[in-house]
Each structure stands twice: as C-alpha cells, then as structure tokens.
Subunit: 139 residues, 2 copies
C-alpha cells in the first residue's frame, strides 16, 4: 500500500528543486545531476508536469523548466492527481465495473470518511511547505 508512487515522488522532488534554484530556468540534465534519478524517466515526468500546466518549458540552448505558479500554490494532491489520479482510497471496482455491493457496502462509508480527511491533509502540503526546512523564528 503506497500512498505516493515513484512518479509523484520524483515529481515533487523535481518541483522542489526547480522552486529552490535561482536561475530563471533549469534543464532536465541539470535536474538529473542534482536529483540522481534516471534521465529518461525524469524527462517524461517533466513533460507530464508541463502538459499538466505546472511547468513552463523552453526549448533550445539555455532552455529548461520553470514553475508556472508559486510553490505555495502547488499542493501534493495536485501532483498526485497528475500521476495517480484520481485519489481514491476506495475504488469499489470489480473488473472495470462498479462493485455490485456498492450501494449497501458497510465498509465503504467508513473508508470514505477516512479518505476525506486524508485528502484534506494532503492538500495542506505544498511545495513551499516541503522546501521550508525550519520555522523562521523572525516571522
């Protein structure tokens, strides 16, 4: 049972890295070096994030990726939905079809409740909150 797949994990780490660095854009190659993950896999993930609208990309020399919105605005659920969508703890599927017991399933209601809370908590985690290492005492 994994809440977070490697796709999502890599994506989050890449987003953090992109958010943290000073240059305008950062290339896939440079990300591979700092993140130590398979280049083709990361490239695919970056492409997916771009298509999903979380990243800008520019081609050619000095091209690369940058965030489209601030790190505060990117939640963990945003990323999870891209790679693992939809977020359901409860699938209630039976060979592509709805489970025949879905209407009177006694487990479903209980799991649904837990699911709501999990999603709320995941939504509270943003790229910004992941990056922030310590609470700033001056704030």
């Amino acid at each position: 049972m994994k809440l977070i797949t490697r796709n999502t994990d890599y994506a989050v780490r890449a987003l953090c890295c992109i958010a943290e660095q000073k240059q305008e854009v950062i290339s896939a190659d440079r990300l591979v070096k700092s993140l130590d993950m398979p280049r083709p896999f990361l490239r695919k993930i970056l492409q997916t994030l771009t298509k999903a609208g979380l990243l800008n990309s520019s081609k050619g020399k000095d091209g690369g990726f940058s965030l489209t919105v601030s790190p505060e605005e990117i939640t963990l659920t945003d990323v999870m939905e891209i790679f693992q969508a939809p977020i359901r703890l409860n699938e209630c599927k039976f060979k592509k079809n709805d489970c025949p017991y879905i209407s009177d399933c006694l487990l479903k209601g209980k799991i649904d409740e837990i699911e709501k809370e999990v999603i709320a908590k995941l939504k509270a985690i943003t790229i910004a909150s992941i990056i922030k290492k310590e609470v700033n005492v001056d704030d």
Copy 2:
C-alpha cells in the same frame, strides 16, 4: 491508490458472513454461495486467515470455519496486515533498499503523520462495527 485490496475486501466480507451466521461452522462452499466470489481464491483466503489465527477450521464432513475471537476484537488493520502487510503509506524503498534520502526527506515526516491517523482510524473499524447496520436505540 487503493487502501484496501481485493484480498482484504473478500476476507472482511467472509469474516462478516462467518460472524453473522448461527451454525457453529460454515464451509467454504457455503461461503462461496453467499458471497459470490471465486471458490479457489476464497479458499486460499480462508486458509490464510486460519494460519493467521483469526479462524478455526475443521476438516471432514460438516467441517468448516469459525471465528477464534469475537467480531469486536477483529480490526480492519488486523486483516489488512495479513494481506497487505505492513501498513505503510510511505514505503521509502528504492529497489529493495532504503531510499538514500530517507534521513533528510522533508515529505516523509508529513506523510508519517497522516499515516498514524489513518491507521488509528482503521483500527477503530471492527468486524462487529461493519456488521452492525443501525445504531440500536435501546442501548
């Protein structure tokens, strides 16, 4: 992302069925009929539950299965641990080895917190609580 696999789902339904019926024991064949699931798969699940200590079994004519403890004492986590163990939202594994970032992973702490709460909630769900259809007003 599934919190509960079919193994666990079938097992829970079987346990409910065993808990609810009046006879001392119930055979795999009778369970198959009332639960409508593949016989060999259910048999394997029943065997696993027996090995795990949740069921008693008796062979031969009029043999079958019964609970070893009361439905109140069987939690959802008990069953999940048998079929999906261990319950972790966060695996932090990288090709069988610990993820190299495990010590300073900023996501881990946050997910671990969520995990604790999820597990606590799953622990509160028992076979008895699943069976109980309505709150008894006389209580």
